[in-house]
């Protein structure tokens, strides 16, 4: 079966997540260390921010990365289910699950073509 999108592995999502988190944590620590070391910093984005606010700012950014990654993981998992569903339908496999999927596909063909999502069908 052909897919017209680039395959994304969960490992890729996780690697990106860890890299982004790591970068943010390092940046936060670098700014905090500069402040705590009595070194001046003139990064415009952080000007006039207190040490506590630096923490809050980066905690918000880290939370955002968490939310986005969750969303991406759910989307990737859903896409994987869609691919598996269509693969089973198109290859006409004889196992029980494939037959059930094929019946679902027949009953909902028009709807499926219109909206390529499993959630509505189940």
């Amino acid at each position: 079966m052909r897919r017209n999108y680039e395959q994304v592995y969960l490992e890729d999502v996780w690697d990106h997540y860890e890299l982004t988190r790591d970068s943010l944590v390092r940046r936060k620590e670098s700014i905090k260390q500069n402040l705590l070391a009595g070194r001046g910093s003139t990064e415009p984005r952080f000007l006039c921010m207190h040490l506590e606010e630096i923490d809050e700012f980066f905690d918000d950014q880290l939370n955002e990365v968490d939310y986005r990654t969750c969303l991406f993981l759910v989307a990737a998992a859903e896409a994987s289910l869609v691919v598996d569903f269509l693969h089973r339908v198109k290859t006409r496999k004889k196992d029980r699950i494939s037959k059930i999927f094929k019946d679902i596909f027949k009953k909902n063909a028009r709807k499926m073509k219109k909206k390529f999502g499993l959630i509505n069908i189940f």
């Binding site: 700014i31 260390q33 705590l36 009595g38 070194r39 003139t42 000007l47 921010m49 207190h50």
Partner: protein, 153 residues
């Protein structure tokens, strides 16, 4: 942690590491705190001098209080908070701390309608204007009036 290193040695090495990381010695941090507290006193004195005639006319009043701050290299300490009472409104000068990016200290001026920030830059206080672009203005009677206009209803 190295297996051979006991808890005491481990904590000592961490303390030494933090001291080496800091460019300022404990004494210098203490001096910075003293300067920060002194500048706050001077700021309040200046604001009081501007408003003293109105106090005499009982148009406004001052309330002095204290609040606790705790900043890692300085430890816990108390700072003065100046509150101006005008009619039913209060405008408070609330020190945020001295660990500020690009400044040696920050005081937030809080009113019913909002908050404005002044920072200690070098030896003088400056009003931070963020829009349309970040700009520092001298903190004087004119800028103080614009602050009051922003934070008072």
């Amino acid at each position: 942690m190295a297996k051979t290193m006991g808890l005491t040695d481990f904590l000592k090495s961490k303390a030494r590491h933090d001291e080496q990381e800091s460019l300022l010695t404990k004494k210098e941090w203490e001096a910075r705190k003293e300067k920060w507290l002194r500048r706050i006193d001077e700021l309040y004195e200046e604001v009081r001098s501007w408003l003293e005639p109105l106090k005499k006319e009982t148009i406004l009043d001052f309330i002095d209080s204290k609040m606790a701050l705790n900043e890692p290299p300085l430890g816990p300490y108390n700072v003065k908070v100046l509150t101006i009472v005008i009619g039913g409104q209060r405008i408070s000068f609330v020190p945020k701390g001295t660990l500020i990016v690009g400044a040696q200290g920050r005081v937030d001026i809080q009113g019913h309608k909002g908050m404005r920030t002044i920072i200690l830059s070098g030896d003088k206080w400056s009003l931070v204007r963020r829009t349309p672009s970040l700009k520092l203005l001298d903190f004087d009677q004119t800028s103080f009036q614009s602050i009051l206009d922003d934070v008072m209803e």
